[in-house]
Every structure is written in C-alpha cells, then in structure tokens.
C-alpha cells in the first residue's frame, strides 16, 4: 500500500522542473509567410452581416408563406361569408310581403 501511495505521489510530481516546449517559428508557415500561404480571413463584421442577410431572407420567405396560406383561407372564408349574406338577404326578401 505504501509503495502504491509513493508511486502515485511520484507520478503526480513528475512534471516538477518542466520547461516550455520550444517551437521553431518555421513551423508556422501560414503565419510567417502570408504571401505563400494566403490567409482566407473573413472579418468578424462580415460574418455578422452574412447572418443578418440570411435572417432577413428567412423572415421574408416566412412572411410570404404565411400570407399565401392565410390569403387562401381568407379568400375562401370571405366567399362563404358573401354567400351567407346573399342567402340571408334573399330569404329576408322572401319574408317581405308586398
């Protein structure tokens, strides 16, 4: 048990004395040589604009779909309403005795 605890303690301490891993600047070609490796950078503002345009288009399409759906229902409803009014008027006329 003591050897296990000691082993764990020693393993936990194995990073003592660690120093930074060195990196060679030449391993960063995209950063150090932008002419050879042109960066495709999309600025943050452009990202936002693209999302705003997409949201606007989605809203337009949604509105159009809703108006088409409700136009059909409204037209059908209004036609029924006209028929009802006309039949009531005609039946009213029938009741009038001249």
């Amino acid at each position: 048990m003591n050897s296990k605890k000691q082993w764990i303690r020693e393993t936990m301490e194995s990073l003592e004395g660690i120093h930074r891993a060195q990196s060679d600047l030449l391993v960063f070609p995209k950063v150090m040589d932008p002419f050879r490796y042109p960066l495709k950078i999309t600025p943050a503002r452009e990202h936002r604009q693209r999302w705003q345009i997409a949201a606007g288009l989605a809203l337009l399409v949604t509105l159009n779909v809703f108006s088409l759906v409700f136009y059909d229902r409204f037209t059908a409803a209004s036609q029924n309403t006209e028929k009802i009014i006309a039949s009531e008027y005609l039946s009213y006329l029938d009741t009038i005795q001249f």
């Binding site: 296990k4 082993w7 764990i8 020693e10 393993t11 936990m12 194995s14 990073l15 003592e16 004395g17 660690i18 120093h19 930074r20 891993a21 060195q22 990196s23 600047l25 391993v27 960063f28 070609p29 995209k30 950063v31 150090m32 960066l39 950078i41 600025p43 943050a44």
Partner: protein, 196 residues
Amino acid sequence: MVNLLEEKRFIENLKNGEPSAFNMLVDQYHDRVFNTAIGLLQNGEDAKDVSQEVFIEVLCSIPAFKMQSTLTTWIYRITVQKSLEWIRNKNRKKRFAIFISLFGKEDQIQKTDPAPFYHPGVLLENKERAAILFNAIGRLPLNQRTAFTLHKVELLSYTEIADVMQVSIPSVESLMHRAKQNLQRLLADYYEKNEQ
C-alpha cells in the same frame, strides 16, 4: 507603469497593422502559445496547427481588442479556446466513427487508449511517469484539464489562470483540488492494472 504604456503602444501598432509589430508578437508569444497548446492537446502536430490558428485569430481580432485584460491574458484565452475546440471536434469525430463501426468493419473501431505523450520539456528521468500522468490528465473533464495544464505545464499562478478562464480564484482552487483527486484515482487504477 512603463510596461503598461509600452504594451498600449504595442497594441496600437498591432491595430494599425504594422508587420514589424506582428512579427514581434509572434516572436514573443509563440513559445507560450505552443506550450499551452501541446499541454492541452498532447500532440505536437495538432499543437502546431492550433498555434497557427491562434495567431491568425489574434491578427483578425486585434482591431476589436478593448484592453480590458492584458494582451498576454487575451492570447492565452484564445489559445485555450482554440485547443478546447480542437479537442471537442476530435471527440465528435471519434464518437461518429464508433457509431459507424457498429454498422461497418471491426477495424474501423477507434482505440480508446491513445499513444503515450512525451512532453519535450519534461526532465529525462521523469519522462515515463510524466507520460502516464499526461494520459490521466487527458481523461479529466475539460475545465479541470485546462486549470491543471495551465498551472503545471505553463506554470501560471492561480490568479493568472482565473483571468484566462474568466472565473474566480476560489473556482480555480476548486478545479485544481478536484483535478488532483481525479488524477490520484486514475493513477491508482493504473497502478492496480499495470504496476503490480
């Protein structure tokens, strides 16, 4: 005070897009960025790629940098974010591959135990034990892994870690405490399986 003024001037030069300022930035920070990335990712090639992504991000975002933190803290923050994104993407691909393997050939199944990672900065006499420790670190939850790596590999203080992770110092203390408990448990399991 002088350092703050110098830093302010340096940031202004970066915002103005001066190539010499950017070269100085890369020169000053590339070791810190690479060391943090390699500590979190435990892979030299991945760390190189992420390090480049970090400097590209710095280049793109420096105009919007409001100096609410120091430049160093900001760069560490970007490095941690990019590294964690990389890890999440890799884990997502692994899960997808395992799902595919249910319907495909057995040789598509991913190994659960990665190759041992030997950090180039560890003392020679500690290399094997450190590799076992890094394996255990790789199994920690990401926030514990981040705090532990920043403290033990990049040697940041708890105050600096709190600034980078944008949490309180007691939160960092709690993360470190839980990380150490989890690591001891994982190492105990490893000892039972391999060392006895």
